[in-house]
């Protein structure tokens, strides 16, 4: 039902556009005429933004152009495996594949993708008048190759932010108790020390009330915990790119010039392990999904949460008990780090998302280019942003529906727009999953307590270098 309403809204919007600019509406049917009988196949992860493409944008596109679109949505691992098998074996099953921001460098290294900028320049008849690469936010830069050409069409973008419960933080009694205990005013933390203090306070205060001081994405057998540490915690201590130095022969250990086992990384790990210990007990089995649910169930006073979940936590009463009580802030950092990041070095958190790419093995590249441009237009973005809480085009921030939602989200979209530059995507490594999986088993052992944190990071740095040597990147 919700989808139908949105589809109606989108159609209305397109209808208005078509009314004022008839030439635009004609472009799609003219361009589509050449590809009658073509069916485009796409594979993507089954997330709200992708489902919106499948349920709303694809049928709309088919109606306008006559080109059929079949989008297969599946779990992340399956999507990744199927896309790679297809492109590696050159079977040409897919005309569109979802590219998570962290896999783009691997695909680029293998020349799996069609250069969208170049393809459109080569055949101007395919260029949609309402499509412009300039319309995208800076997030699109992650999907550009060395020449600055667009290799994937951004469709999903969010940052991992600091969420806190405004009802708890603004409660005068709690404020007084906090003041009495710590001598400070209760407000969202900006440093790790403050964050720890607040977390400790709430865990103690919440005993018997089922409230804890923080979330922790600390699953002991799932890479979510590895990601929370390397992409959200370590950077706020000044350790970027997992502590691997790409310009220095991919060094990871301090001895070789890397920072994976640096003092900062070790301090970061101990800070986070402490938070894990005062987080709700389910944290040891929590991935990104469960931390969000923990927060939504009202079991945590604050936490680092992915933006795609922040939206439903703050606005969907069916899934969340804390609707209207959610505040957003920048993740707390170590003194000096924020200044360093603002000066342009490093980042304080993860800017995640994905794009649709066009595999070089596709047999319907022209028709697929049309579809990619269709979903990249400013005009289709508004309802899509509301449905999937993702923004990829600059103009979308000004959409009234988006601004309305932004208010409910405690200013999440505003933060994405104004402070998005402080966040960064995954490091530009073509070996993302490989090094993660090589080092993760050691990380899990640190979490279970089988290995000491310091010794564990030393082992992980050594393991990362070993794997990189094995893969042939480290000489």
């Amino acid at each position: 039902m919700r989808h139908h309403l949105k589809a109606g809204g989108a159609t209305l919007l397109i209808g208005l556009l078509a009314g004022s600019m008839p030439a635009l509406a004609d472009f799609w049917s003219d361009a589509g005429a050449k590809f009658q009988g073509v069916t485009l196949h796409g594979v993507t992860e089954s997330t709200p933004p992708s489902n919106y493409v499948k349920d709303v944008l694809a049928p709309e596109f088919t109606e306008k152009t006559g080109i059929k679109v079949e989008i297969e949505t599946t779990s992340w691992d399956q999507m990744y495996d199927k896309a790679i098998k297809d492109m590696e074996a050159g079977t040409g099953i897919y005309d569109m594949v979802y590219i998570e921001q962290d896999i783009i460098y691997a695909y680029l290294a293998r020349n799996f993708l069609v250069d969208i900028t170049k393809a459109l320049a080569d055949d101007p008849s395919l260029k949609a008048p309402d499509f412009s690469e300039e319309a995208f936010t800076s997030f699109a830069d992650y999907f550009k190759n060395a020449d600055g050409d667009l290799m994937g069409l951004p469709m999903e973008a969010f940052i991992k932010i600091y969420l806190y419960r405004t009802d708890l933080f603004n409660d005068p009694e709690i404020q007084a108790a906090f003041k009495e205990k710590t001598g400070k005013d209760l407000k969202p933390a900006t440093t790790h020390e403050e964050y720890t203090e607040i977390a400790e306070f709430f865990t103690e205060w919440g005993q018997g009330k089922d409230i804890w001081g923080t979330t922790a994405q600390a699953h002991t057998g799932h890479p979510a915990s590895w990601y929370e540490f390397f992409e959200s915690i370590a950077p706020t201590f000044g350790v970027y790119n997992w502590g691997i130095d790409a310009d220095n022969n991919y060094a990871a250990s301090v001895a070789n010039g890397g920072r994976m086992n640096s003092d900062e990384a070790k301090a970061a790990l101990k800070y986070w392990l402490h938070l894990r210990d005062i987080a709700p007990p389910e944290s040891a089995a929590s991935t990104w999904t469960e931390t969000a649910t923990t927060f939504a169930a009202g079991r945590a006073a604050q936490g680092l949460i992915y933006g795609e979940n922040a939206a439903w936590i703050a606005s969907d009463p069916e899934k969340s008990r804390v609707v209207g009580n959610v505040g957003v802030a920048l993740p707390p950092t170590e003194p000096g780090v924020l200044e360093q990041v603002e000066a342009g070095e490093g980042y304080i958190g993860y800017y995640d998302g994905g794009a649709f790419g066009l595999p070089i093995t596709s047999k319907n590249q022209e028709a697929a280019l049309l579809f990619l441009q269709y979903i990249g237009q400013d005009s289709v973005q508004g309802p899509w942003a509301v449905a999937g809480s993702r923004i990829t085009n600059t103009a979308t921030y000004d959409d009234p529906a988006v601004q309305e939602l932004d208010k409910k989200l405690g200013g999440y979209f505003t933060m994405l727009r104004d402070q998005g530059k402080l966040f960064a995507g995954a490091p530009p490594f073509p070996f993302h999953a490989q090094v993660r999986e090589a080092t993760a088993p050691i990380f899990y052992e640190i979490l279970t307590g089988a290995i000491e944190p310091d010794a564990g990071l030393d082992q992980m740095a050594a393991k990362a270098e070993e794997e990189l040597t094995n893969l042939g990147y480290r000489k």
């Binding site: 790679i84 890479p223 089988a450």
Partner: protein, 291 residues
């Protein structure tokens, strides 16, 4: 014996099907296991490296640990399933009202897809809010945390497997019990044999092939378990439930290390084969030869 031609004719479709879909992929995997091939390595090409993958295996602590926990898991799970499954099958041999209904109820776990079984058990065992840890804590004051304690996680994977697969054992053993001739039992009762004697000297020898077949099937399936455990623990805490199927999955899917993954698969296949062959030669084959 009648014309063997007819016998071969009856076997042909099976041999053909298994030949095409069983042997061809195996040859390919065997071929890969002698190569270094990671599409996302610095060099994405397949490079022939003789037996290096196998040499690497022998010193791979993660792999060896995984084999060890898998064997432990398979032993506890399969052993319990056979014992419980046999007892339940015997119970179903009795006449009582509503037998068909109970039999249907008892087969229900089989119909639930492994990925869903994993999800349900995961939600039931989520620390502090899952129904099992919650009541364990409320009623007995026991703290169950599947994310922190390796033993607990291991135990739950075994219990989950028993819950899911015991019905299979019950059904196969029930079929075997149903097809036993009656006379030996009647004769034994007339001779005044005790229940234990009947079990050890008549029932067990007669259903031994069926038990063995069931053990084989459960054993090799337990060794290949992926979906349920992936959902329940993800292989954690640490490597406590990183069973070999899941381990291979992690090497092949996220790490895209096809060469090394193939080598592990070949070795695991070989180990499974040897284990089953020894069981088979020791327990089944001599009997069949006697026929």
């Amino acid at each position: 014996m009648r014309s063997n031609k007819v016998g071969w004719l009856l076997l042909t479709p099976t041999l053909l099907l298994l030949g095409v879909f069983g042997i061809l992929p195996f040859i390919y995997v065997l071929f890969l296991s002698f190569h270094q091939w990671n599409p996302f390595g610095a060099s994405p090409d397949r490079i022939f490296i003789w037996g290096n993958n196998f040499r690497r295996l022998v010193f791979d602590g993660e792999f060896l640990l995984s084999i060890w926990v898998t064997l432990k898991f398979a032993f506890f799970a399969v052993f319990s399933e056979i014992v419980i499954g046999y007892l339940l099958a015997q119970l179903f041999m009795r006449e009582f009202p509503g037998r068909a209904v109970f039999r249907t109820i008892h087969t229900l776990p089989l119909i639930v897809a492994p990925i869903v079984v994993g999800s349900v058990w995961r939600l039931m065992t989520t620390p502090s809010i899952g129904i099992i840890p919650y009541y364990a804590n409320q009623l007995f004051g026991i703290d169950i945390n599947i994310g922190r304690d390796a033993g607990t996680a291991f135990m739950f994977t075994v219990i989950m497997d028993i819950w899911h697969w015991t019905p299979l054992v019950t059904l196969t053993l029930l079929a075997a019990l149903l097809s036993l001739p009656k006379e030996p039992f009647e004769q034994a009762q007339i001779d005044g044999a005790s229940r234990a004697q009947i079990f050890w000297h008549i029932t067990l020898p007669m259903i031994r092939p069926a038990i063995l077949a069931t053990v084989f099937i459960r054993l090799m399936d337990a060794l290949r378990t992926v979906d349920e455990v992936w959902m329940l623990t993800g292989g954690g805490p640490g490597a406590a439930t990183r069973y070999i199927g899941l381990h291979i999955w992690k090497v092949v899917f996220p790490k895209t290390d096809y060469g090394y993954g193939s080598a592990i698969s070949v070795i695991v296949l070989y180990l499974t084969l040897v284990m089953c062959w020894m069981l088979y030669v020791g327990l089944v084959a001599p009997r069949n030869k006697g026929n």
